[in-house]
Amino acid sequence: MTRRLIGCVAVTGFLLVGCGTEQQAETETVPAAEAGALPPAVARAVAVARGIEANPAAADSILAAHGLTAAGLDSLMYTIAEDSALAAAYTNALR
């Protein structure tokens, strides 16, 4: 009984650590120094773009990790594209 209990706790811990690592990999795509230099909207969009470029199969979970829906991403990208400074910052960050 005790052995089973220990085994289950170990499996639970392993799964939780695994999930945490995946989440971290999806959200930490813009280095902190660079993110600080970029306007927040641009930093968010750059993180999403880099995340999806690195792992296209995880696009939905990358959007979710950044608190975005497809409609939310549309709105964010329109906002950046309309502003010449934001569009230039986004373009340069992804070069």
Binding site: M1, V11, I52, A58, A59, L73, Y78
Partner: protein, 164 residues
């Protein structure tokens, strides 16, 4: 035994939503997503090509107002920028796009219509046509545009007249 089953169940619960989230998007959905992410780069390209900021904003705001997906707007801006780079007048940027949006065109149909128009005017990949044809086409389009678009097109036409 009951504890064991409960712990095993608890361990399995978080994996279900993650599996659901990690469903890879199909290639068409991914391509659409990539177009959305490219919209700021396309508008930056249009600005680099010499299109004024105000014209770009007019096109984007019109597209947004009509509920056009950002990916479709990206494609339209890219085709328009290609045409400007091929010699189309910068101050006419987006006039045809607005006319097509007003006519209800979306997605692939919108991009194809823009490409066909620029090819007809001699700014597309085929290289056929002449500037005179562009002016004629502009007059035709102005007739189809909504009132806001018509006002902008008229203003652009007057500007061209002053320079000639």
């Amino acid at each position: 035994m009951r504890w064991t089953l409960l712990l095993a169940a608890a361990a399995l619960v978080p994996t279900a939503p993650l599996d659901a989230q990690s469903q890879p998007p199909d290639s068409a959905a991914l391509a659409a997503l990539q177009r959305v992410l490219k919209l700021p780069q396309s508008t930056a390209g249009a600005r680099e090509a010499g299109v004024t900021d105000s014209l770009i904003r007019i096109v984007l705001r019109e597209a947004r107002r009509r509920g056009i997906p950002a990916g479709d707007a990206q494609e339209a801006v890219e085709v328009e920028t290609d045409a400007v780079n091929a010699g189309a007048p910068k101050d006419n940027f987006g006039a045809f796009v607005q006319a097509q949006l007003a006519a209800g065109k979306r997605g692939r149909e919108l991009a194809e219509a823009i490409r066909a128009e620029h090819a007809k005017q001699g700014h597309g990949p085929t290289g056929a046509g002449a500037m005179g044809a562009h002016e004629h086409g502009g007059a035709e389009l102005r007739g189809k545009m909504d009132s806001a678009g018509r006002a902008r097109a008229d203003s652009a036409a007057k500007g061209r007249g002053r320079r000639q």
